[in-house]
């Protein structure tokens, strides 16, 4: 049967992998090409690169990094961050990305998701949804953009359904409340979205230990789990994570 996927996430700025807590206090975690190769060796099912470069001067760096990684690592590569137009998608795919993740632009211009999906196929369009629990709306989780700073008034579950309808082949669901906290995924959020759509969902935000990965699949209904810091600082290898999931009855690729 199909295996649940483990996806290490590499936040890249100015050509280096970093990791922060709620987008603050960024710590250097190393060279992206070296880290990508290490995770591939450990049995990562895919890799996600998130370009969080602030200055436009260094935007091109991510293309160079993806080219380097794609000629040495032969598993699916997803790249996101700063994808604004269909042309950005084309550039990333040409550099060697297999999927491109669209976040803020999907909210500002949903048509772009549809255009990109019809031009390159749904299989390479991932929509990233940053959601936060709110108590001032008639729904439970609201979509935020701009790295979690801007509320949109959109219901995350309804938004997920709409994005899948427009052609997103996969959804990357990040809980802004959990990101960097190490207290586990927001499983009720992931479960609500997973039940609402037919496309696969990737759970993101909050992993602190291996049981959180198991819970993400079993409780949250995630098809794939994404984690960064537990792998970057050598707490666990991807292989250890997979072995733990397998011991807990989850199908994995070992």
């Amino acid at each position: 049967m199909l295996a649940k996927r483990i996806i290490p996430c590499l936040d890249v700025t100015d050509g280096r992998v970093v990791k922060g807590i709620n987008f603050l206090e960024l710590r250097d975690a190393g060279d992206p090409v070296e880290i990508a190769k290490r995770y591939d060796d450990q049995g990562a099912d895919e890799l996600t690169f998130l370009d969080i470069t602030a200055s436009s001067d260094n935007r091109g760096l991510i293309l160079h990094i993806i080219e380097e990684v794609a000629s040495q690592v032969f598993i699916p590569l997803t790249v996101g961050g700063g994808v604004r137009e269909v042309e950005d998608v084309r550039r990333l795919l040409n550099a060697g990305a297999d999927k491109v993740s669209i976040n803020t632009t999907a909210v500002l211009n949903p048509q772009m998701v549809q255009d990109a999906a019809s031009r390159f196929g749904s299989q390479c369009i991932v929509v990233a949804i940053d959601a936060k629990k709110v108590d001032n709306q008639p729904f439970e989780w609201e979509v935020f953009t701009h790295g979690g700073r801007k509320a949109t008034g959109l219901d995350a579950v309804k938004w997920a359904e709409y994005m899948a309808k427009l052609g997103a082949g996969e959804l990357l669901v990040t809980s802004m409340d959990r990101d960097g906290t190490k207290i586990g995924f927001n499983n009720p959020l992931n479960r609500a979205i997973s039940n609402a759509v037919d496309v696969p969902i990737i759970a993101s935000g909050g992993v602190g230990n291996l049981q959180h990965l198991v819970d993400g699949v079993k409780e949250g209904g995630a098809d794939a789990v994404l984690a960064a810091s537990i792998f970057h600082y050598g707490e666990y290898t991807v292989k250890q994570a997979k072995e733990y999931m397998q011991r807990n009855g989850i199908e994995v690729r070992l």
Binding site: L2, I75, D98
Partner: protein, 219 residues
């Protein structure tokens, strides 16, 4: 003109970089050319026929570049590897857009049902079928495994991303299958042609082994 060892057919759909990079990786001394020129396809020793996106668009773009006859010709006379939509296009008809394929093989391309597909834990199975699934090499039909399965474990996992699968009329061409949750054909084999639904170029060690097997295949 430099000899073309492997031509990757480019008809303007999707990203062929992954395929060519993986071929270059397993065959560093071979000349791998991504091309939309029918003459290159005629001249190349081996053909890789990839595909991404929607099948009706793929067929339309293939025809727009005048590539149909050279691809059909190559499929009949030299080592030929179809990947993903490059497998689906070889069939008569696809449910996707109710489109006609190249018709090299009798049979249909069907969509996974989105309702009532569940795993053993009762979890809904998603479409597209995306990720790493086991591929069984159909050894019960052939006394020996096909050359493209050399050094690959029966049941090894390969990376898939697709919503449609092929259903050949002639089951003797089935060279491999997977389960989601029903059995579906994930490889076909006939003479000089081998075609797969999964992506060997994205399937780590097992995928690179298959590409290496293809580069050295003498059907």
């Amino acid at each position: 003109m430099k000899k073309i060892d492997i031509a990757v057919v480019d008809y303007g759909m999707g990203n062929l970089r992954s395929v060519s990079k993986a071929l270059e990786h397993v065959a560093p001394n071979k000349n791998v050319l991504v091309t939309s020129n029918p003459a290159d396809i005629e001249n190349a020793d081996r053909i890789v026929f990839p595909g991404q996106g929607a099948m009706p668009d793929c067929i339309r773009e293939l025809d727009a570049r005048g590539l149909r006859s050279s691809v059909m010709h190559a499929a009949g006379n030299k080592p030929f590897l179809g990947i993903c939509i490059g497998l689906q296009m070889l069939f008569e008809h696809s449910e996707e857009g109710d489109a006609a394929g190249l018709g090299l093989f009798k049979g249909n391309v069907k969509r996974f049902a989105t309702v009532d597909m569940h795993d053993e834990n009762g979890e809904k199975l998603k479409v597209p079928h995306m990720g790493w699934n086991q591929v069984y090499q159909n050894r019960n039909q052939q006394s020996e495994a096909h050359a493209l399965w050399s050094n690959i474990e029966d049941g090894a996992r390969f990376y898939y991303v697709h919503s449609y699968y092929v259903q050949p009329d002639d089951t003797s061409i089935i060279g491999g299958y997977s389960e989601y949750p029903q059995q579906f054909t994930s490889a076909i084999a006939q003479d000089n042609l081998f075609a797969v639904q999964f992506h060997p170029e994205k399937s780590a060690t097992a995928g690179l082994q298959m590409l290496s097997n293809f580069v050295n295949w003498l059907p």
